[in-house]
């Protein structure tokens, strides 16, 4: 079953329709510490998270879930503007197309001497592909959960939340393993000292849309959408050099308008052209500017409004309220929680961030009217978007039940009022940090949510189902079911491939999944049901006309 409800009606994915529905997914890099080991190596801690989650899977399902990542189709240096960055000129952290390696000493630190189910597998895992079609792996110095591909913003919220549940399970496992120091994971984007780490969004868009137009429309949109989907931060500046509160975790870490890098000189528009799909037909828009959200409404609006604006672009009806000096304005908007700051547009107008958001909203409402209305989820997004713009124009604190930055600010202001704290009081910094702690007993977000002070859009049963089950309406269904049905024979996987190793075959069998809307339940459920084992499954696949492509 699809936890969020019935599978998407394929007609809403028609690119000719104005809609928030499209293939999308999220990536979350979690902040990580082991408080009792202040100098712990972050890469080792991150691999503990991956291995601990693998151990829980083995225990529960009796299968090995370690899966090699197939790097064949990774191209992190391909630039959407039409060229490739030279490998020697790239920052080493940009080379995400080679597997990370631990030294022998580091391996010894991850592999526990003993635990209650015996030692972990002899090989230290740096990558897992999960039964729900997601990827859990070590990215630089953080554990990262990349959600399975979904077809709409609400499902994106659900499978993103499933990643938080996976992270919590791993933390609990580490805490319960003798000889291991407890590890804490935080869903935030900065250590508030000098460092930022990302939560990315990915949207499938037609290759036919000119990239420069995409960038021109999205820059003003991204500069201003933090009013709705910022997560709030205590501290100003990339080095936390001034006290205060701002809307966004990420804004102060951006230096460019457009560029290929994701770890240095971060750009508002990232040009990585790595479609993970049929490159002639699709682009994957890789959005690196968003904050990691705890609030489901913030997360829903972040992806929903972005997808709606992309639909305007597809239909060549998007506004371009070009902002003078967008990087500076990104930070100025973030630094003003009263939302009164005026942004200067190139056409001479001086408008607030909410005014800019309303320009996009109005264009969406017009587009919706033009086609005689839109699908229910898109209509719901438009309604919430407009309502929240109005609430924020009145008293921003009235949006505390919906938006992360407002919920966080309300708690901080209550502390300041009760205890007379200045913005540089370390307890306010701690509230900021613990808002994003993923352990419910330590998470301030979770406290607010448990009290009914923050709206939920998905429930715990749905999240639990999404941890183990893939979406039914994308290729993630094929990937997830290959992993769960044939754990011993699937030896590698990626977004666009599954690799089988079969006793009867001398060579590995690589099945391509380059069409994100194939490999769905509708197309492959019977194939899985009819195959007694991996040999039969692969032999049925290979007997079809397009034998190396998923159905």
């Amino acid at each position: 079953m699809t936890p969020a409800g019935p599978p998407t009606d394929p007609s809403v994915l028609d690119p000719e329709r104005f809609s928030a529905h499209r293939v999308m997914g999220t990536e979350t890099e979690y902040g990580i510490i082991a408080p009792s080991i202040p100098d712990a190596n972050a890469t080792i801690l991150s691999s503990q998270v991956v291995n601990a989650y693998a151990a829980t899977l083995r225990e529960g399902l009796g299968n090995l879930a370690g899966t090699r990542w197939d790097y064949t189709d990774e191209a992190p240096l391909a630039d959407a503007r039409g060229w490739h960055q030279a490998r020697h000129s790239a920052d080493p952290s940009q080379l995400t197309d080679t597997p990370p390696v631990l030294t022998a000493e580091q391996v010894a630190m991850v592999d526990p001497p003993l635990d209650d189910v015996g030692p972990l597998d002899s090989a230290v895992l740096m990558n897992l592909v999960l039964n729900n079609g997601a990827r859990l792996y070590v990215d630089h110095a953080h554990p990262e959960y990349s959600s399975p591909e979904v077809t709409n913003p609400l499902d994106a919220v659900l499978w993103d939340r499933a990643g938080d549940a996976v992270a919590l399970t791993a933390m609990r496992r580490i805490a319960a393993t003798p000889g291991f120091a407890p590890v804490h994971l935080y869903k935030n984007n900065t250590d508030n000292k000098s460092v930022s780490y990302g939560s990315h969004e990915n949207y499938l868009v037609p290759r036919s849309v000119p990239f420069h137009h995409l960038a021109a429309v999205l820059i003003p949109f991204f500069v201003t959408r933090q009013t709705l989907c910022g997560s709030g931060r205590v501290g100003i500046g990339a080095f936390n050099q001034a006290p205060g509160f701002q809307l966004s975790q990420r804004a102060d870490f951006f230096e460019n308008e457009i560029g290929l890098e994701t770890t240095v000189r971060r750009p508002i528009i990232n040009t990585r052209d790595e479609p993970h799909a049929v490159a002639e037909k699709y682009r994957r828009l890789h959005v690196i500017i968003g904050d990691a959200n705890l609030s489901e409404t913030s997360n829903y609006l972040k992806m929903g409004t972005t997808s709606l604006v992309l639909s305007l672009i597809d239909r060549q009806n998007a506004p371009v309220p070009e902002i003078h000096d967008p990087v500076r304005e990104l930070q100025a908007v973030s630094h003003d929680p009263t939302l009164k700051h005026r942004v200067r547009l190139v056409d001479g107008r001086s408008v607030t961030a909410l005014d800019v958001q309303e320009m996009y909203l109005d264009a969406c409402l017009r587009e919706s009217d033009r086609q005689g209305g839109t699908d229910p989820q898109s209509a719901d997004l438009l309604h919430r978007w407009g309502s929240l713009i109005d609430v924020l124009r009145g008293n921003p604190l009235d949006a505390a039940g919906q938006l992360d930055w407002v919920a966080k600010l309300k708690v901080l202001e209550a502390y300041r009022s009760r205890d007379g704290m200045a913005w540089d009081d370390p307890r306010l910094a701690l509230v900021d940090l613990q808002y994003s702690d993923l352990r419910p007993e330590k998470s301030i977000y979770h406290r607010l949510s448990a009290r009914g002070d923050i709206d939920r859009l998905v429930n715990d049963e749905q999240v639990s189902a999404a941890v183990s089950n893939p979406p039914e309406d994308t290729r993630a269904y094929f990937r997830g079911h290959c992993i769960s049905s044939f754990p011993r024979e699937v030896v590698g996987a990626s977004w666009d491939s599954i690799i089988f190793e079969l006793p009867s075959q001398r060579r590995l069998q690589r099945i391509q999944t380059r069409e994100p809307l194939r490999g769905t339940a509708a197309l492959t459920r019977e194939l899985f049901a009819a195959s007694a084992d991996a040999e039969e499954f692969v032999s049925r696949l290979l007997s079809r006309p397009q034998s190396n492509m998923a159905p």
Partner: protein, 71 residues
């Protein structure tokens, strides 16, 4: 299911409320804020609850949260 932004309804038309049957989040409305006194009481309760959750020695804990760069 119609959307529910509690403090702000009707300022914009909720499009096609009648036909929203699938794929729309069901937000169960939390109670209204109530009187100022009740609100103040609620905030005091909330801060008491959070006081009990915060790590001890805020300054040291925050200083110890050091990350390596990411994407």
């Amino acid at each position: 299911m119609a959307t529910q932004d509690r403090r702000n309804t009707g300022s914009r038309p909720a499009e096609q409320d009648e036909e929203q049957d699938t794929g729309v989040p069901d937000t169960s409305g939390a109670p209204e804020g109530g009187t100022p006194t009740a609100q103040t009481q609620g905030v005091d309760d909330l801060l008491d609850e959070i006081d009990g959750v915060l790590e001890s020695n805020a300054e040291e804990f925050v200083r110890g949260f050091v990350q390596k760069g990411g994407q």
